[in-house]
């Protein structure tokens, strides 16, 4: 820290001062992020109050809150939000169940445990777009192995409006359960063994041990996984966009993309982007709180 050296000492006077170095090291990064993240957002806040279309040369005219009003009155947008909510619920719920379950199984002495864990973590490191691509091969109605293994003949997963969202969510669960597993495993292995020994001496039931020892001690890390995955699932674009193009899988990020880059309704798309942005920032705030708590432990 700055205080460790007496400012008058010869060591502190050599070279650049600590304050200069600090500014030299930190300011470029902050400036970079402001120019390429914050400035564009200010720019799009301006456009959200206009009827600007990026595809035409017509100048933008100010329409006030009209875009926001239109979006909030648009049934389709509400539908996009409810599809997104459903998707978040299914995929994050599935990830927590599978991830926590596998972590419980893995939390013991197992031969080649490190190797098996790394194998299980592979899906989460892959590109969402590419995973979405090759799951289409698995889901194929005529010759996909999923239909074959389940004994379903020609069952269309991704073109059936009733199941397409579940199919995408299953892929997401496959991809991201390992993430939940990784965090839960860290939480589980940090639980002191003597707590379980004490519970065994007291003849505590398995269920009691699980709800009173395991769950509370894993929950800080489980919460981090849960919040992070909720945020990511809420933002999902790649996976659903690649796998299916039905109304029943049109997540809010896909709607935003279509509005901005296919219909070129720049003004309204900026307004919708802002609604999404505020929700994401709110979740980020909660997430960072939990991260900092976990750090202090």
């Amino acid at each position: 820290m700055l205080s460790t050296l007496d400012p008058g000492s010869p060591a502190a006077r050599r070279g650049l001062s600590d304050i200069t170095i600090r500014n030299l090291f930190i300011i470029p990064t902050i400036a970079f992020l402001i120019v390429f993240n914050i400035f564009p957002l200010i720019y799009s806040l301006g456009y959200s109050f206009t009827d600007f279309r990026a595809s035409s040369n017509a100048p933008a005219s100010f329409v006030g809150l009209q875009n926001y009003r239109d979006l909030l009155n648009d049934e389709h947008v509400w539908n996009n939000f409810s599809v997104t909510a459903k998707y978040v619920l299914i995929s994050v719920g599935g990830q927590v169940l599978v991830g926590f379950g596998v972590a419980l199984l893995l939390n013991r002495k197992i031969p080649f445990k490190g190797f098996i864990t790394t194998l299980l973590l592979l899906p989460m490191m892959m590109s969402m777009a590419i995973v979405g691509l090759f799951w289409q091969l698995l889901y194929s109605p005529s010759w996909g192995i999923i239909d074959y293994v389940l004994g379903l003949e020609d069952f269309a997963w991704l073109s059936n409006p009733d199941v397409a969202l579940y199919a995408v969510a299953i892929t997401d669960i496959w991809m991201w359960s390992p993430f939940v597993m990784l965090l839960c495993l860290a939480g589980l292995s940090a639980i002191p063994q003597h707590l379980y020994e004490a519970a065994a001496i007291d003849r505590a039931s398995r269920w009691y041990t699980f709800t009173r020892i395991t769950l509370p001690l894993v929950s800080p890390l489980l919460m981090i996984a849960l919040i992070f995955r909720t945020m990511e699932a809420f933002k999902t674009f790649d996976l659903a966009f690649i796998m299916s193009n039905l109304d029943s899988t049109e997540l809010i990020a896909i709607k935003l993309y279509r509005l901005a880059f296919q219909q070129w309704q720049t003004g309204p798309s900026c307004a919708l982007a802002y609604m999404v942005l505020i929700m994401v920032l709110a979740i980020t705030n909660i997430y960072v709180k939990y991260l900092n708590q976990a750090k202090e432990r």
Partner: protein, 319 residues
């Protein structure tokens, strides 16, 4: 009683290990399936019931990198005999390479997309790690008014949905001519990775004892010298892990690439799926492209295995 307990305990343990194996196998089936599809002859890629046993071949990789046309009639046996084995495989399919006037085989779009992915991922990783290491050191060692708020600000830029940022960035890029350029994507990926790099590097640098630098300062080093000669070498593992994470993120990124590029600077993630819609789908070639694309990620995952937890929690959880 204790003996009964331990027998039950052991039985439970065995069941759990068996279940772990079953789960692992089920988990790896999708990866196994796409990998084997890349080595199947085209006729066996989409059979009912699915083909499990087959003689592996690499024709799909030859197809992946080249442009071909259907041949009219038979190939001249003389030409066939002189052709290298991989060209013969193409003749066997009733196709031939498209060649330019000098007889050079025309490469397919995949090669240039793969190279674009490499150039963009490596450049943006370098920038994000270099700036990230400096900033992390600044936050780790010096007091900064509103430090927590700045760190939150930095992390929040990472959480922005790509589509939200892409709309105004597209307009700005169009104004300065950066749409479909390598530089444009490099800037976006650097910005995207920078916050991650700062947080992760800060975790690593926090762990290096301050006493090392203080000793160096007393020995007559300047702060700068102490940073470059003492701290950076100590943080080498952290820098390497951060770089690999940044590389994977940039390598995998799809949304920005889809919206900001279309041909010249297009990366592999938007290109590979676009092959699906065009004409009759050749899943073996798509699978070959997928396998080559996933290979670096798989290797890096194994190299990173000790740091994965730290990486996915932005350096907050170390263990």
């Amino acid at each position: 009683m204790a003996a009964v307990q331990s027998v039950r305990h052991r039985a439970l343990n065995r069941t759990a290990i068996a279940l772990v194996l079953v789960v692992t196998v089920i988990y790896l089936i999708p990866i196994y399936w796409i990998t084997t599809t890349a080595f199947k002859p085209r006729s066996l890629a989409t059979t009912v019931p699915p083909t499990v046993l087959f003689k592996p071949e690499v024709t799909s990789f030859v197809k992946l990198f080249t442009k071909r046309v259907q041949m009219i009639g038979e190939v001249d046996p003389e030409i066939y005999k002189k052709a290298p084995w991989w060209e013969q495989r193409i003749y066997d399919l009733g196709e031939r390479f498209i060649k330019d006037a000098d007889g050079n085989i025309e490469p397919s779009g995949y090669l240039s997309r793969f190279m674009n992915s490499l150039i963009i991922a490596i450049s943006s990783t370098f920038l994000a790690v270099a700036m990230g290491a400096l900033t992390a050191y600044g936050f780790s060692r010096f007091r900064m008014p509103g430090e927590q708020d700045w760190l939150f600000f930095i992390l929040s830029t990472r959480m922005l949905p790509p589509v939200v940022v892409a709309i105004p960035m597209f307009l700005m890029y169009r104004a300065v001519g950066l749409v479909d350029s390598h530089l444009g994507l490099i800037i976006l990926y650097t910005a995207f990775n920078l916050s991650f790099s700062v947080w992760l590097m800060k975790g690593f640098i926090d762990e290096i004892p301050k006493e090392y630098e203080e000793a160096a300062l007393v020995d007559g080093y300047t702060r700068m010298e102490a940073f470059f000669k003492i701290v950076l070498p100590q943080a080498a593992t952290g820098i390497a892990a951060t770089a690999v994470f940044c590389f994977i993120t940039a390598w995998n990124e799809y949304a920005f690439a889809l919206m900001m590029t279309n041909r010249r600077a297009q990366t592999a993630p938007p290109f590979i799926p676009s092959q699906l819609g065009s004409g009759v789908t050749d899943w073996t070639a798509i699978a070959a492209g997928t396998v080559l694309f996933l290979l670096p990620v798989a290797i890096f995952t194994f190299l990173l295995r000790k740091h994965l937890l730290r990486g996915v929690t932005f350096g907050a959880i170390r263990k």
